[in-house]
Each structure stands twice: as C-alpha cells, then as structure tokens.
Assembly symmetry: C2
Amino acid sequence: MSDDFETIAIDEARALGEGLLSAAGYSKDHARTITDCVVRAQMDECHSHGLYRLISCLELIERGKVDPAATPVVEDRAPAIVRVDARRGVSLSAFEAGLPVIAEKARHCGLAALAINNCFHFSALWPEVERIADQGLVAIAVTVSHAWVAPAGGSRPVFGTNPFAFAWPRPGKHPFVFDFATSAIARGDIELHRRMKTPLPEGTAINADGKPTTDPDKAVDGAMLTFGAHKGSALSTMIELLAGPLIGDLTSAESMAFDDGAKVTPFHGELIIALDPASFMGQAARDNLKRGETLFDAIEGQGARLPSARRYRARARNTRAGVMPVRKNVLDELRLRAAKHQNKTI
Amino acid sequence: MSDDFETIAIDEARALGEGLLSAAGYSKDHARTITDCVVRAQMDECHSHGLYRLISCLELIERGKVDPAATPVVEDRAPAIVRVDARRGVSLSAFEAGLPVIAEKARHCGLAALAINNCFHFSALWPEVERIADQGLVAIAVTVSHAWVAPAGGSRPVFGTNPFAFAWPRPGKHPFVFDFATSAIARGDIELHRRMKTPLPEGTAINADGKPTTDPDKAVDGAMLTFGAHKGSALSTMIELLAGPLIGDLTSAESMAFDDGAKVTPFHGELIIALDPASFMGQAARDNLKRGETLFDAIEGQGARLPSARRYRARARNTRAGVMPVRKNVLDELRLRAAKHQNKTI
C-alpha cells in the first residue's frame, strides 16, 4: 500500500459516514444507504466512488440543492414498470425502495424496469446491478450526467459521461459485472491532469474549436470525447434517451442547466432493467447459466481478465482483513469535518 | 453512381429475390420475409446486407443446413416474454411471427422481450428495430455470430462480431436507429482486404501469437479485436450472454462448432427488447419524445451526423426513383442463377 493511503476498519468507516451525513442533515435512511454504497466501493478499492464521495454528498447540502430528508415515493406504473420518485433526494434510497418491486416484477413478467426520477446521483452503477444479480437476475443500468462530452463528428458537449452497467448472476460466484463510462476518460481524470499539469491521453478530448487536444485546460473549454468513436457516441445517445426522455427525466444538457454553476453532482434519472433467466428458460435456466461459465472460462483461460475481477480480489482481501485502504487526504478531510461538527455540538 | 453498380427496379428486385428463393426450396413465407429484408437494405444502400445476401441464403440450402420450409412456433413464456422457435429456419419469419406479440406485450407490461431461437441469421438488425420503433416503441436487439473476435487482453477468438442495435421513435420522422458490430472491423472487410492484398486498419486484429497485425491473412489465423478496447469487449461479452445462455441458445463459439466448416451464416438466437414510452410516462410521453428531438438538434446542429442519416437519405432518393443501385457482380450472379433455374425447369 502506498504512503498516500491508510486503512480504516469497516465499522469505523460506517460510523464516520453515517455520523457525518446525519450531522449534516441527511435522514437516517439516506445516511445509511449512502454510507453503505461508498463503503462497498471503498472495500473494492474503487477509490473514485468510495468514501471520497461523502464530501460531494455534504456539498450537496451545503449548496442547497438536495432534500436530505426526502422520502422516495414508489409508483406501480405498469405490470413490468416501477417508478420511484426520489423527490430531490440522493438516488440510493430510491433504489432501495424500488429493488424489491423490480425483482418481483421481473420474476412475474420475465423482465421489468425501475425508473428512478428526480434524484441526485453520485454513485457507481455496479453496486446496484450487483445487488440485482445477487437475486439471480440479469441487470442493465444507465444514467446520464452533465453535458461534457461531444458527439462523434461534433465539437460541443452534449452528452454526459453516461455510464453503462451490466450484471450476470454466476452460481456460487460473484456476478459478472461491468460498469463503464461511455466517455473516453473519466471527468475526474481531466481534473487530475489539470492539477498535475500532465497531458491527457490522445483521443480523449477536443479544444473549443473541435480540434484534438491533450491539454487538460483546453479540454475543459472544449469537450471530452466518447470511447469507441461513432459507436461510443451512438451508445451515449441511447443512454441520454433511455435515462432521460423515456422516463421523463433530464438529459445531461438539462441537468447541467439545472446545476446552474453550483458544480454539484448531477440531478436526473436512472433506468434499470432486470431480466429473469428462469422466466426465459424455466428448468433449463440452470444449465444455461453454466454455459455462461464456459464463456468466462474461455476468456480467463487465455489470460484475459473479466471486468470485475480486480474489484472482487480487493473485496476478498479487505473483507479478510476487516479494514480498507483510503487515501489519507480523504480520511483527513472527513475526520476534520467530523471533529468540527463535534466541537460545534459540544 | 460508380461503373460497378447498375440499378434495378424495386418490383424487379422483389421478383428476382422471391423467385430465386422459392425455386431453391424456401417456403413462400421465408421467400417473402428474406426478400423484403434484403430489398429494404438495398434501398438504403446498405450493400453488405442487401441483395448480395440472397446468395448466402441459397448456399444455406445447398449446404444442407437450413430448413427452408420451417414454420416458426410462437410460445408465450411469461407476461412480458414471447419466444419464437425458428426450427432451423431463417430468423426473419420468426421475427414476423413474434413482432405483433412483443408489441402487444410491451404496451401491456411497459416493456417486453422477444427471444428468437434456433435460427440462421444473416440480416442486419436495424430493419427489425426500425419496425418496432415504427409502432412507437423503443427497441434494443442483440445477436451473436461465429467466434472470430478475441476478448481485450486475450489472443484467441471467443466472441462473434456481435451487433448491438437500438431504435427510438421520432414523431413524424424516421426513427433514430443505430446498429453496429462490437468488432473493430466487419468480418466481410477482412475478406475484402485479403482479396485486395491491402493492410487492415491498425487496432483491428491480432495474429496467432496475440500480437497486433495489419496483415489480413495473419488476422484470419489469429483473431479480430473488439472496438473500444476493454469496453467493447465487455459489451461483446454481454451480447454473448443475452443472446446465448439467457435465451437458451448458442454462443458464438458454439455456433461455430455447429457450423463445422460449412462456412454458412451463423445459427443461434436473438434477443429483442421493446419499451413503451406511453407506459413509462402516460400523457407526458409525447412531450418527452419532443425532448429527444432537442437532443438530436444539439447533435445535428453542430454538424455531427445521426447514425441512420445516410441510410435514410439513400432510401428517400431510391424511393423517389423507384430503383436501387446494386453491385453489377451481385446482380450478374443472381440473374445467372435465375437463368439456370429457368433452363432447368423448361
């Protein structure tokens, strides 16, 4: 472990998270769901979506955007659609409220959708699709973000970093899971290159004139690019449509307009689809899931990695140890905030 | 139009296609659905999936693989799932049989799936998702092919060229549609480079040792790559799982084993998902579809193209003219085959 990291016990991380969020005004439910999500990410050493994100959640309150006590409202829209209105709360409580309903609907109808509306969204999508796969269901999740990414052949930002996540249940194993941004680089990486004054990788951004650039400052004035040229651009368009107009929520451009310079986490919707292998295949579903294993063996058998393998290894290591590594500067800031609050309330 | 092309009237193309397929043994239904699909593609100047594919369909019979008179069997699996067993026929008649059922189920449940099993599949996916979007529904379609493509970080073929298609209905306009292979290059393009003895584009293939190559012969001994590195590889894995084990059908590796050197079009399954905007949003669906238009305007307004724009322009042009351009060598072969049959039957 590098010098930039220190470890924190799981229980201590939970107490720190829930304490900070509650003190800031989040309801018990939000404090619990947010903490659970960032602790899961931290245990997997997914640092960009770990404890660090507690700070964004505190800023959401400080900048007057979020309703920290919002109670999600579950609406049964159709036999296979459940909608959860997050009512300007963070998305995670809305997901918790919708999870049992989408699972039941998927088992009954064969597949089902969960539309989360009016939520602030800071989290990775893999914890959600993994939760669905843990119930033996296949899951797809998409959401938009802020308009930072230009379409292929264009020069101005339209799309968000628009992640696409997928999970497939594996009998007796962690599910096969991927969760990637359709942008060529993460937004946070652009900021990192700015601070470090290092060039961006080729092919990740354009300047304000639409010309390729590796200068992170010029990229911020211009736009990020999607991965995979016109194919990634097409996928990103699809995600705007599915997580925006289809479910009656904001596109990345609309989310950015809503943000209005507050620079907080995006406000928008999320679409999750769950598919039930047993409904498709009945008794044969079990054997068919095994045929999925043959595919994974063919991939791993030639030395290629499954997308979730690194996270799962970290999870196993940290679960055994009962602690997780966190960047020192993140822990310092969280503990400073906790101490400040302690002083205030004494 | 280049010298390599000549035009053929729409009615003549239909008569040629249906005549050839019927003479070869296809049932009236298969002859009609196959011809309709290749004529649509040809009208859009999508030459790789146009009249040229009639030849593959004839070879399918000549090599004893397809059942040219198979009647698809529709099975209502669950409130939101319809399965159509193509019974070793070409996929298109199975799609026709399933289309009204998936549309009705999507309207009732909010979303629905059509699983087509045991089919030979040669066609592009865009004609199918476009047909669904013409009914006001959003559509996603995936299918596998033959194992030609290596996973990111690997060296041996596991995936097919695994296309992903999407359609979004646009009031008063052709739907927004994309349909792309998750391979970095089309299989047909590799063959073209072999014949022309020209190098492949960089980053599209590896040799038998897993090293990058632009030599098309070495690529055939090695493997093609996915687009978008590990992200494209993840998507391709998802497509294997959704169109294979989820619906109880073959993966690309299994399809290739089934082919057993016959070198015909892949035999496997296809998964189509349809989502109903009206079920998600009720009365607000119409306004939300308009918000999709704002997104398209933002893309096209900066000079970027929507993925289906070129095809739609060709369609408009050829529909006005009542004729379509076809490669001369393709028309020559089709007419030669038609004449041979004529002589045989006189």
